[in-house]
Symmetry: C2
Subunit: 335 residues, 2 copies
Amino acid sequence: MLQLRQPYLLFLGDVSVKSDAKTAFGLRDWARDKVLGEFALPAAGVSLGLPALTPRQAAEQGAGSLVIGVAPAGGALPPHWLAALEEAIEAGLDIVSGLHTRLSSFERLADQARARGVRLVDVRHSDTPFPAGTGARRSGRRVLTVGTDCALGKKYTALALTDALRARGAAADFRATGQTGILITGGGVAIDAVISDFIAGAAEVLSPAAAPEHWDVIEGQGALFHPAYAGVTLGLLHGSQPDAVVLCHDPSRASIEGHPAFPIPPLGEAIDAYLRAGRLTNPAVRCVGLSINSSTLSDSDWSTYAARLRAELGLPVVDPMRGGVDALADALLAP
Amino acid sequence: MLQLRQPYLLFLGDVSVKSDAKTAFGLRDWARDKVLGEFALPAAGVSLGLPALTPRQAAEQGAGSLVIGVAPAGGALPPHWLAALEEAIEAGLDIVSGLHTRLSSFERLADQARARGVRLVDVRHSDTPFPAGTGARRSGRRVLTVGTDCALGKKYTALALTDALRARGAAADFRATGQTGILITGGGVAIDAVISDFIAGAAEVLSPAAAPEHWDVIEGQGALFHPAYAGVTLGLLHGSQPDAVVLCHDPSRASIEGHPAFPIPPLGEAIDAYLRAGRLTNPAVRCVGLSINSSTLSDSDWSTYAARLRAELGLPVVDPMRGGVDALADALLAP
């Protein structure tokens, strides 16, 4: 499983639009204690409001990696950023990138990293060989966030749930399956980058056998109702063998984002589909509640909506941004 | 999509056990018209009974590729085979391998192939970038062979069904998704080698839009009930958008092979699971029959078994090796 060297120095390149630095802002907000500062080219028009550090200064303060926290148009690495990356390598930092272009495709970077003994880590790619799934039950408890679609709060719900479990004295680990989650937590498996034969096997590796009362809180990916990504979702579900799932949903979406011909099913049906599929590797899987991204609803509409769902499904209904996920943590720990 | 240069010269290395040359025997039996001859090292203890040709002789007779038709213990390429592969490259043949070791990891082979302008093709690996699935409906008709487990006749059923459709005057193409199928037909996508984000997308590329009455007969992979491979199965099902599925089954198996804790579901339930999942991308998907690998049954037991299944499920039940797949082809073409 991938393990990153933290803390980070966040690289901003020379981007001038905040939305192009989404990853850097996310790390600042969600993993502030793992970020030492920011490093930008002179032409940059964006700042995170963190201490400006050179790679050498960051290394002296204990930084382990320079994280490329920006997504330049097209996903490729602009050649005029290379000198800054070389400066970081020279300072002894690993370089961590979520870009499409592999860092190692730049021969000079690869040579320099080898000579300096640091790593070029492409979070979007997977070079780790994984075994095929075994389906064998393992000790420890697991909860997986699943969704009616992509990008509606599965990662955020899992992070909040990990905190809530720990606040109750439970041993819990967030298990990241996407690049932002991996950057936040410092490790994980980019599950959608794994060779398809090994999806379930990679999920088994991600949440290994643990103490009987320990919870792995696994970040879900995709959706069973998504025409492109349901295979990833199913393999992750099977390999995770979750004891519990949390269904994540955004009530403002009538159909899968970008796929208007694919309606989002009624929530009861969605839960049934996940439980039916999950029973293959864990016959006791149950749904402990719903996590709603209610950002489009007014306070009173949210109250009405949540109350209606609770009555209809007989399950806790939360929005992590509106009151937290305590009800989900309580349901997980209920005897 | 991968396209191989046919016809083939089959390479046997120096294996001495027939079962280690399974791929070569399979190609001899299933794609005889695409095989010119065999080429073995002096120490080989196995022959296919085909003309023995040197790479040069084969090239002069029009061969396009040398196919490594053997699986040495461990899946690695024995170094003492390299001289024979170099001889084939020198003769202008592509080298096609289904081994775990990539041919291109041998620098001398890679250099020589580049210089000679031939390809090193690793059928087990996928270097083709595929798009994400779109879910968009496309013209043409598709049938997918699905299964209650792996390795019970999905490829053979699809090959036989392609022949039967053509025999009825229908336009039909076999679409290979595994390495043996790819070698037989000369092209396809090794679906389990695709990056998991692109399973459905690769399946869409494999069976592109076609004439309205044209049938793609798609080789299924894995099983929805398999703890390791269901993700591949689901992505292939969604991307294939089949109008029809054929359920393949081996009545001698009570559980998934190698996974005794995973029982094979009742066949009616298995059909329901495939249709429910398939409806996401083709709401009209139907099951047109069952293809049974009945090799463990006596003639009379087979008759009894098939009659019982027909009555129970109301569907045609065939064994491609015992009477062929005519009933499936008729069901596909029925108005």
